[in-house]
């Protein structure tokens, strides 16, 4: 296919090229860090003033209670119009947020951000520091672990919406049938695992096919602090004492094939929870709702107990939970911040709890009406007793990586291999560590 030359051909080619170049140049002139935002001193009074003045803000979230919350807010503050948008769940939502940030526009004023993802948005400076509005004063109203989770570096970037202290959910019917006592230490847990496998090979003590959130929470519970960030210095040590404590126990379960390996949140997983294949599972305090909605066959059979620990003393970690933050590119940050305050500190909490959310506020965690609630699904157990107690025993000092979302994407490539081969988890963790260090250095951090 030869090009036969000709002036007209060249002219059109030039025109097409020019059009292409024009569009490319249009695309190139891009992201500066978004304007907007009140300059200079701000304070809590600004928030009240903003509410009175009114305006419009956009709120991206996927929480089911958002509709009720927004409706209640607009009733209370008729001058404010909140545009509620569900831009996707989890990674879809974050991808759109990243794109909007990079483009400098198109993002919301307020966005839901999970605790693990917060540093990734806060550290590059894409979120508004809410300390300037005096919100640091609310420290005592929240549990220490969630309060720590909404900070990154030196700033405060949101108010905790909910918390997810982990507890052990177990199938009482299966435990009773196989003669197993509720384990309180991890050694007991491993022993129970072996018993279950002996008596009923098709069942298993728990299910773990490799999940980054679960792994980090387990390391957290063991007292590990594998990720430390200080400015642009990042330390990654996935073989620190806490991590090794966890792998010491968990390797037994994985290498001796004592766990089921059904991928979580799939149809098979829900069915296995319902029919007794999976005897117990460690999940955050938001799990009762999931059981009620998606595991109908398990009704009445499950109970909640504190997580087993290494020394028998209560200790747990957080697993899941989010906050709402204000984007730097917001045109009305004061109003956005006022909305966040209402949502997670003031009247917004009630609709959230009504829809089954698990609070991060100390007052609600201690409220007898909440604590003593009996749940039919769990055989009438007052599950919140266990869960609120767990909220008080979260191990302190945990930090997520500034690029935790990335870490989660490559978890399957690295630690996942250990799960797949049912081999030593430490190897997988080291491989994860190497990949994370390489990425961090590439992105301008100084790792290790």
């Amino acid at each position: 296919m030869l090009i036969t030359s000709g002036r007209r051909a060249r002219r059109l080619a030039l025109a097409v090229a020019a059009l292409t170049a024009a569009s490319v140049l249009a695309g190139c002139g891009s992201s500066d860090d978004g304007g907007g935002g009140a300059a200079g001193e701000a304070s809590a009074a600004d928030l009240d003033a903003a509410l009175k003045e009114g305006g419009t803000i956009t709120y991206w979230t996927w929480t089911p209670s958002a509709e009720a919350q927004v409706a209640a807010f607009e009733d209370q503050y008729p001058n404010v119009d909140v545009k509620l948008v569900n831009a996707g769940t989890g990674n879809d939502h974050y991808a759109k947020l990243q794109n909007a940030i990079k483009a400098g526009s198109g993002g919301p004023d307020v966005a839901q951000i999970e605790y693990q993802a917060l540093p990734q948005f806060a550290l590059p400076g894409d979120l508004v520091d809410l300390g300037q509005y005096g919100l640091e004063d609310y420290a005592a109203d929240y549990t220490p672990s969630t309060w720590a989770a909404v900070h990154a570096g030196e700033g405060l970037y949101g108010l905790p919406q909910d918390s997810g202290p982990m507890a052990m959910f177990y199938n009482k019917d299966v435990f009773d049938k196989l003669g197993i006592d509720v384990p309180t230490t991890w050694d007991d847990y491993v022993a129970a695992a072996r018993t279950i496998k002996e008596k009923d090979p098709s069942s298993c003590i728990t299910n773990d096919s490799g999940d980054p959130g679960f792994t980090t929470s387990m390391i957290w519970q063991a007292g590990g602090q594998p990720f430390q960030t200080d400015g642009d210095q990042v330390t990654i040590d996935l073989q620190d004492p806490g991590t090794l404590k966890w792998t010491g126990v968990w390797n037994q379960l994985v290498e001796d094939k004592l766990v089921c390996t059904i991928p979580g949140w799939t149809e098979e997983w829900f069915k296995a929870l319902g029919d007794g294949t999976i005897a117990s599972i460690g999940l955050g305090a938001w799990a009762p709702g999931v059981f009620e909605q998606s595991v109908p066959d398990g009704a009445g059979k499950w109970r909640v107990a504190p997580m087993p620990t290494y020394d028998g003393q209560p200790a747990t970690a957080e697993n899941g939970g989010s906050t709402e933050s204000v984007l730097k590119q917001s045109q009305n940050p004061a109003l956005a911040a006022a909305f966040v305050r209402w949502l997670n500190h003031d009247e917004g909490i009630e609709p959230f709890l009504e829809s089954g959310g698990f609070p991060a506020t100390v007052a609600d965690l201690e409220d007898p009406a909440f604590v003593d609630k009996k749940l039919d699904y769990f055989g009438g157990q007052e599950v919140n007793q266990v869960l609120t107690d767990a909220a008080n025993h979260v191990v302190s000092g945990w930090q997520y990586l500034p690029y935790e979302l990335y870490a989660n994407t490559i978890y399957g490539d690295t630690v996942g291999k250990s799960y797949q081969n049912q081999s030593d988890l430490n190897q997988g963790l080291l491989s994860w560590q190497d990949a994370l260090a390489e990425y961090g250095n590439q992105q301008g951090f100084k790792v290790n």
Binding site: G6, G27, G88, G104, G106, G289, D297
Partner: protein, 291 residues
């Protein structure tokens, strides 16, 4: 159906049960996942996770699922359906028009550089679109096109397959002599295209349209990236959002609506297929007999 065959015995073979049997096996292969889809649409959310996949659940909820799908969250499904129709009609329709005109141009006008055109089009399509998503997003963002219907429609206006088809079809179905005659009569090129060529190209146009419709109907990735306003979502993105409700804290699974919603999206496609099929069938044979 077999109208083109004359009644001479080797040409009107007996129907073969064996061949039909083999094809039936193939049909079963095709149908099993579809049967799962239909059966799942009859189940409630609870039944989905507690009943065998290839049989009914405890409750028969087909009609209530349909009703709920169409009314969930103020009937956003219908809005998504309307969006999809808009994107398909404008996108696929526009793609067909552009491909027809371009194919005609490539076939009937021997201008220099025309072979390069197709090579460049193929080359561009060969670059994986996922990595182009962010550059496209940034470009469109600067032009103010993101989060608008144009972000979806503009990329779907290019159908390289359609271009190729119409090129080859036009080369054959539109005789040069006819064009020359019209030119001698004094007609302009565009006039010739609309009054002479289009009629002859009709069967090819219908084919390109059918395939463009199906591919724009299932367009997912670019709308996902470009749109952050649920009111503009096509069905594919909307259903994915419903699907995501089942995971994590505060989950409110609605898998039964996802399944029912997906089943409903197939129906219009089937209708389009059946309608266009009849049209293009007759046009084809008629066009081919002439030598």
């Amino acid at each position: 159906m077999s109208t083109r065959r004359t009644p001479v015995s080797p040409l009107t073979p007996r129907r073969s049960p064996l061949l039909t049997g083999l094809m039936l096996l193939f049909l079963v292969y095709t149908l099993v996942p579809l049967v799962w889809l239909i059966l799942s649409a009859t189940k409630t959310q609870a039944d989905l996770f507690s009943s065998p996949g290839l049989w009914f659940g405890d409750h028969f909820a087909f009609f209530s699922n349909i009703k709920e799908t169409l009314t969930y969250r103020d009937g956003i499904y219908l809005r998504w359906l309307a969006n999809t129709l808009l994107y398909v009609v404008v996108g696929a329709g526009g793609a067909t028009l552009l491909a027809t005109a371009a194919g005609y141009g490539l076939a009937k006008y021997r201008f220099p550089g025309r072979r390069v055109v197709f090579a460049v089009v193929l080359g561009a399509v060969a670059v994986p679109g996922t990595a182009l998503a962010v550059p496209t997003f940034l470009m469109f963002s600067n032009m103010g096109l993101t989060n608008t219907v144009w972000a979806i429609i503009i990329p779907s206006l290019i159908s390289p397959f359609g271009l190729y088809l119409m090129w080859v079809y036009a080369a054959d179905a539109v005789p040069q002599e006819l064009l020359e005659a019209a030119r001698i009569d004094g007609a302009g090129e565009i006039r010739i295209f609309f009054s002479v060529a289009l009629r002859l190209l009709a069967p090819g146009i219908v084919t390109v349209l059918l395939f463009a419709v199906v591919s724009t109907w299932n367009n997912y990735f670019l709308p996902l990236i470009m749109l952050s306003e649920p009111k503009l979502y096509p069905l594919t993105v909307g259903l994915t959002q419903w699907s995501g409700q089942a995971t994590g804290a505060n989950a409110q699974p609605v898998y039964n609506l996802v399944v029912t919603g997906s089943l409903l999206t197939i129906v219009p496609l089937v209708i389009v297929f059946i309608l266009l099929q009849r049209f293009w069938q007759s046009g084809l044979s008629a066009g081919s007999v002439k030598q």
